[in-house]
Amino acid sequence: MKLLMKTIVMTTALCFCLPSAAQPQHDNANHATHDMHDHEEANSSHAANSGRGASDGPVLTRTEDIESALADGGEPIVADVLGVVCDFCALAMNKIFSKREEVAAIYVDLDTKALNLVLVPGASMNDQTITDLAVQAGYRIAEVRRGDAALGGAS
């Protein structure tokens, strides 16, 4: 009887695996727009608390690669990322975004919690694509800034 009870506890724990496998993917696949709305709310709250406007978040972090890509004429993009707290987070974002041919340079700045991108000259990447790629990496985008807004100028 004792062994049976243990078995029941064991199998109950494993049963949790089944619904948990399906639900998060459903969320990721079908609720990207809803997630984006949540991100905007989270970012607005964060911005209000920090006394910043919703559109004047961190500007592009300039590494050597990013400076070089900017000099080539690529579009700068800064995306505020929720949940990036460690190097594994940065690694995941780097791996996913670096595979894209549109991306000329990338840097994940843990200090500003921002994904910094410079695109290949003439290439484009819309906000939804950036959001979807971040989800593949396991994270969420709160806000995306481009061009002058990403560089700290007027949007």
Partner: protein, 215 residues
């Protein structure tokens, strides 16, 4: 009763394995190698992550106290991730099914083994707490429950690519051990794809060494 005891875990285990193996691989994934060595066992896990919500791997675990080795398929599911600008929280379910074999002269026959448990963590760039448990049923080799709680802090906040350092206290509870509750202070070094932890169990005077490499 014996039939039920054997068939139920086997059926569920196979079902879970089929579910995980049948999942489509429709995006670029990552590989991770994890080694863990504590006062009771040493293990190596290599897993592939086909989606941001699950990984599937193969795990080998040597239980030094009970002289058996466990070879298992090991899925882990991310049930929920909480995001914030400054924090991340996660809830996982993990499990596995495989074979337990006697080692170091242990004459007992091979047994089917099945295990499962919950992991949860919450982390900022300077604070972390975590919890993990597991129940293992391995026939006459072992019926073990363990749970581990961790809390730690980073003395400084490193940026991408920097060396990150954490000071962590681990409290573990293992029902199969004479000293069921022990404490292990440890230090974690973290740089790029490599994470290394080294500590010493103050209760039973045993070292702890873990590493994770992600690529």
């Amino acid at each position: 009763m014996t039939v039920v005891r054997t068939a139920l875990p086997l059926t569920l285990g196979c079902l879970i394995s089929m579910v995980t193996l049948a999942r489509p691989v429709s995006y670029a994934g990552g590989w991770t190698v994890i080694e863990e060595s504590d006062r009771q066992s040493s293990s190596a896990l290599a897993h592939y992550t086909p989606s941001p919500t699950m990984s599937l791997g193969f795990k080998t675990e040597v239980n030094r106290d009970s002289d058996f080795a466990l070879y298992s398929v090991h899925p882990t599911f991310l049930a929920k991730r909480w995001f914030g600008a400054d924090y991340q929280g996660n809830l996982y379910f993990h499990g596995g099914i495989g074979v337990a074999s006697g080692i170091n002269g242990n004459p007992q026959s091979d047994q089917m083994a099945i295990y499962g448990g919950v992991m949860a963590d919450w982390e900022t760039r300077s604070l972390l707490v975590g919890y993990r448990n597991r129940y293992l049923e391995a026939g006459h080799h072992a019926n073990q429950f363990m749970q581990v709680f961790r809390a730690g802090f980073a003395p400084y906040e490193g940026d991408s690519g920097d060396l990150h350092t954490w000071m962590i206290l681990e409290i573990d509870h293992r029902t199969s051990e004479p000293d069921s509750v022990t404490a292990t202070p440890l230090v974690r070094f973290f740089k790029g794809p490599l994470l290394v932890e080294a500590g010493y169990n103050l209760t039973v005077n045993q070292p702890l060494f873990n590493f994770t490499y992600r690529f």
